[in-house]
C-alpha cells in the first residue's frame, strides 16, 4: 500500500542494467542486507537504454521517486551506456523541473557487482530523500506536501527500517 492513514511509504522505481547494477542487488540479497521494501527494480539490458519515456511513465504510474543504477563509469559492458544514462538523467531532471515534480525525485548511482551494501544504501538514500520531499504531487491532487508534513507522516508511521524486507537473491 502506498500510503494509508498517516503513513507515507515512498514508492521507488529503480532501473538497473543487467550486469553490475543488478548483480549488486543480488549481492545485497546474498549478504542479507535490508533496503526499503517499496523499491521496485526493473532490469534493463544496459542503462544506455534509459529513456525519459520510461522515467516519466514511472512517475505517471505512481512512483514518488525514480533512480537508475548503472555500472561504474569506465566499466560499462557496452562501453558508454552508463555515460548516456547519466546524460539522460540530467536532461530528464530538467523536464521534471518544468513539469513541477522536481528533478530531485530522480537520481543515478554507479555500482559494481560486489557493492551490495551500496545498493541498499542507494535505496535508503532515495527513500529518505522522498520522505523529506513528501509524496509525488501527482498523487496528492496537485498539492505539494511540505517536508514537515511528510516528516510527521513518517513519525506517525513505521520507521524506514521496519518497511524493509530482507533482500533475496
Amino acid at each position: 500500500m502506498q500510503r494509508t492513514g498517516e503513513c507515507f511509504e515512498p514508492q521507488l522505481t529503480a532501473f538497473t542494467c543487467s550486469y553490475c547494477a543488478y548483480m549488486s542487488g543480488d549481492t545485497a540479497g546474498a549478504m542479507r542486507i535490508q533496503y526499503p521494501a517499496t523499491t521496485k527494480v526493473i532490469k534493463l539490458p544496459c542503462t544506455g537504454k534509459t529513456d525519459a519515456r520510461y522515467i516519466m511513465s514511472a512517475f505517471e504510474d505512481g512512483a514518488d521517486g525514480v533512480y537508475i543504477i548503472a555500472c561504474p563509469i569506465g566499466n560499462c559492458h557496452h562501453v558508454r551506456g552508463n555515460e548516456r544514462a547519466r546524460a539522460r538523467v540530467v536532461h530528464t531532471k530538467k523536464l521534471l523541473d518544468q513539469v513541477g515534480l522536481g528533478g530531485e525525485r530522480l537520481d543515478i548511482f554507479f555500482l559494481s557487482a560486489g557493492m551490495g551494501e551500496s545498493f541498499a544504501q542507494a535505496a535508503k538514500e532515495m527513500n529518505d530523500r522522498i520522505m523529506r520531499l513528501g509524496p509525488s504531487p501527482l498523487r496528492m491532487g496537485g498539492k505539494e506536501v511540505g517536508a514537515g508534513e511528510a516528516g510527521e507522516q513518517k513519525n506517525g508511521g513505521d520507521e524506514t527500517g521496519e518497511q524493509s524486507v530482507e533482500a533475496t537473491q
Partner: protein
C-alpha cells in the same frame, strides 16, 4: 533537413489552458531526426502535459500520435479521426506540417509545439548547424560548396567583413566566418583566383524578398493548368 526545437512547456501549456481534450501530434521525418518532434518526443510531451494538468486542475486529457509526415495530405489523413476529435492539436512538426493540419482540416484548432529553426545537418551527435538559407538562387558553385547566405551572419556575397578575426565571426566566438572558410578552401584547392570572376547580381526575388514561394510542375499535374486537380478538391474535413 529542417531543424527545430521544442517550445518551453509553460508556453505550450498556456496555449492549451482552456482545452479539455488535447492531441500531441508528432512527425516522423525531419523533426524525428533532430529529436524535437518524433514519436519519443510526442510521448514525453504528452506525459509532461498530463502530469502538469494533473497537478493543476486535472481536467485535461492529453493523447499523442505520430504520423510519418505532417506535410503531406496522405499521411495527415491517417490522423483525421484523432485530429477531428481533439479540442486542440499541438503540432510537433515544423511550421510546414503545423500549417498543413489546418489547411487539410480547417475546423481543427492547432498550436505549434516547436520552433522551426533552420535547414541544417547534425555535425556530430547532438549538434545541428545551419547550412542552407533556402534563398532560391544557389551560389555554392561560386563559393566552393560553402554557403555564404546561411553561414555568414550578414549573408555577404563579396568576401568577409571587418568583423572577421582569427577565422571567427564577430557575432560569436563559437561561430566560424563563412568567408574565411571559403577563402581557406579555395586556397587549398588552388583556385583562389576564381573569386576575381564577376557575376550577375544575385536574384533575391527567389528568396523571401519575392514573397511566398510556389513551384508548379505542369508535367506532374493531374489536370491541365487552370482546371481543378482532383487532389485539391475539398478538404479532408
Amino acid at each position: 533537413m529542417i531543424v527545430a526545437e521544442q517550445k518551453p512547456l509553460d508556453e505550450i501549456m498556456q496555449s492549451v489552458s482552456e482545452d479539455k481534450n488535447v492531441l500531441v501530434l508528432g512527425c516522423g521525418t525531419c523533426v524525428t531526426v533532430c529529436f524535437a518532434g518524433g514519436e519519443k518526443e510526442a510521448e514525453i510531451l504528452a506525459a509532461s502535459m498530463r502530469m502538469r494538468s494533473e497537478m493543476s486542475d486535472g481536467g485535461c486529457t492529453v493523447d499523442h500520435l505520430t504520423i510519418q509526415r505532417q506535410c503531406e495530405w496522405e499521411y495527415l489523413d491517417s490522423a483525421a479521426d484523432a485530429i477531428k476529435g481533439a479540442d486542440k492539436v499541438v503540432s510537433l512538426a515544423c511550421g510546414i506540417g503545423a500549417q498543413a493540419i489546418i489547411e487539410r482540416f480547417p475546423e481543427a484548432q492547432m498550436v505549434p509545439g516547436l520552433n522551426t529553426r533552420f535547414y541544417g545537418l547534425p555535425t556530430k551527435q547532438g549538434v545541428w548547424e545551419e547550412r542552407c538559407g533556402g534563398c532560391g538562387d544557389c551560389v555554392l558553385e561560386y563559393t566552393d560548396g560553402i554557403c555564404p547566405v546561411s553561414r555568414c551572419s550578414k549573408s555577404l556575397l563579396n568576401g568577409p567583413c571587418g568583423g572577421s578575426h582569427d577565422g571567427l565571426c564577430e557575432v560569436s566566438d563559437e561561430m566560424e566566418c563563412a568567408w574565411h572558410l571559403i577563402v581557406e578552401r579555395m586556397e587549398k584547392l588552388g583556385h583562389l583566383d576564381r573569386l576575381e570572376e564577376m557575376h550577375e547580381p544575385k536574384n533575391w526575388s527567389a528568396a523571401r524578398d519575392g514573397g511566398p514561394g510556389k513551384i508548379v510542375r505542369e508535367d506532374l499535374l493531374r489536370e491541365p493548368p487552370g482546371e481543378v486537380d482532383e487532389g485539391e478538391e475539398g478538404t479532408g474535413s
